[in-house]
Assembly symmetry: C2
């Protein structure tokens, strides 16, 4: 059953971090701050602003403190930044960002490859960050990736995902974002995963879905999430971030596609789709590429032909 018309859906806009991080062009803090301001003007409130990691690892996220400084005090927004370790958390705290986010994988191999440590080490590292966040008034969000399939280990057991997810919530994260990082999942897997969390006492209101459109399944999985009670979804303006296979192939679910779907079924996102299409066009020009979103393409073409 679809949620009744009029219900609200919360979008976490990830293009300025998860999106830009996976693009080959590195943008200066000024342009990243302007991107965030433009996204906010479209009605997006929850925005991943950057990442406090070593610029040696992730050059595209260098200067995240500068991005936040340029944005200044924006009490109407919930800006967040990724903090992989104590050093990152200290930088986040100094930057004045509203929220922090911790991230790990549901498969041991992917965690090792991505974070260079074991799942157990990630958990213990994050326990300290989440606790400090609580003490300093910075709520922590958790990302758990490869929750359906892992590029190294194949199918990931739902029981493992639930165990780790529940752990992250118990440690104090206010929300758990479940990532189908390689975009292999289909609706029954999503429904069953949410059902398994609910069976463990987790309200679907504390869950978010972070879906990749690699195989065009992001929106059907959103629908499965909506029908299971999930109301929070991560997405990326223009589908920015990750051409994992070929030109035109898609990584992150495009915010345009998510908003078009929600508008169509009468759910409130607060986002102005037309402004968002213009914002993605502006960013695409900086990156020298076209957004992969089909909604973007259709609306843009309509505009150009008008």
């Amino acid at each position: 059953m679809l949620p009744p018309a009029g219900e609200a859906v919360s979008i976490v806009e990830v293009a300025p971090r998860d999106g830009l991080q996976n693009e080959s062009v590195v943008l200066p803090p000024e342009q990243r701050a302007e991107f965030i301001s433009r996204l906010a003007a479209c009605g997006l409130k929850r925005i991943e602003a950057g990442s406090f990691v070593s610029p040696k690892w992730v050059p595209s996220m260098a200067g995240t403190a500068e991005v936040l400084k340029l944005l200044g005090d924006r009490p109407e927004l919930r800006l967040s930044a990724l903090t992989p370790n104590a050093r990152g958390f200290a930088d986040a705290l100094a930057s004045g960002v509203a929220e922090v986010a911790v991230f790990m994988s549901a498969s041991e191999t992917h965690n090792q490859s991505n974070l260079n440590c074991s799942i157990a080490e990630s958990l213990s590292r994050y326990a300290a960050i989440i606790e400090q966040g609580r003490a300093t008034g910075m709520p922590a969000r958790a990302y758990l990736s490869v929750v359906v399939g892992c590029p190294y280990e194949g199918k990931v057991a739902a029981s493992k995902v639930v165990r780790l997810g529940v752990k992250l919530l118990e440690m104090g994260c206010y929300e758990l974002s479940l990532g189908d990082t390689i975009g292999v999942g289909t609706p029954r897997q999503v429904s069953e995963l949410v059902r398994d969390f609910i069976a463990e006492g987790v309200s679907p209101e504390r869950l978010a879905l972070h879906l990749h459109d690699t195989r065009g399944m992001a929106l059907v999985n959103v629908l499965a999430g909506l029908e299971s009670g999930v109301r929070t979804f991560d997405s990326s303006a223009g589908g920015l971030g990750g051409c994992p296979y070929a030109p035109g192939a898609s990584g992150n679910l495009a915010t345009e596609d998510l908003v078009y779907l929600c508008d169509g079924i009468g759910l409130q996102t607060g986002v102005n789709l037309e402004n968002l299409v213009d914002t993605s066009a502006w960013m695409a020009e900086k990156l020298g590429k076209r957004p992969v979103s089909r909604v973007w393409q259709a609306l843009r073409a309509t505009k150009e032909n008008a």
Copy 2:
């Protein structure tokens, strides 16, 4: 609610007609027949083989009789051909094709533009064809297009769609394919349309959905259809047919995407996805383009990198 795993979904493969008709390259009957044979070898049973219309109007469908002759007797398949008028029906009858299809629009302006006659004239023309089909053992399928939105008239009233659809079924069509020709629909519209047909006594087993992926909504609408009891979907190998806006933009729902979704949720299509990806690659080469299907792109890339 998703259908239980193990249920069957019927795919009507439209690439050899609806797909090729909307491509700029015109292929000879030999290649079209080979395309159909290859699709059949992938496990597709219901295939639109061509159209008996004047080659002056639709040059790409010239030689449909020759296509069918080259295919020979294929009792395991259900090949169909579009028959817009009495002349077309006579040609279809002579060709030995198993089924005919009639097509019209739910909006007056679109019907005029597409068929050069009024809806009332279409209905009266088809009454004769459907009756002849019944007399000669050729079942007729009906396509009703622009069932959600019309490029000329905007939103199309569901009541009008239901009235015309019921009429076509009452006239003797065994199945009604509801086409979101411009790809604007979203799941609630699909669910409500199917519900309205059911309220008029039409079993969802007599309905099919013909969805376009222009705004990436085809699969969410398939899901809404599945949850409403529909088990038949039209799709086009490689997403062939219609780049209505821009390079990379998509018209027809790609069969690859539909099969991946059905495989994922445990529904039986009888189609071998890997073979289908190869078949679409073969056809794409003939047309000098890449399939727009994301599943195609992801699977092909996996193969090329292996």
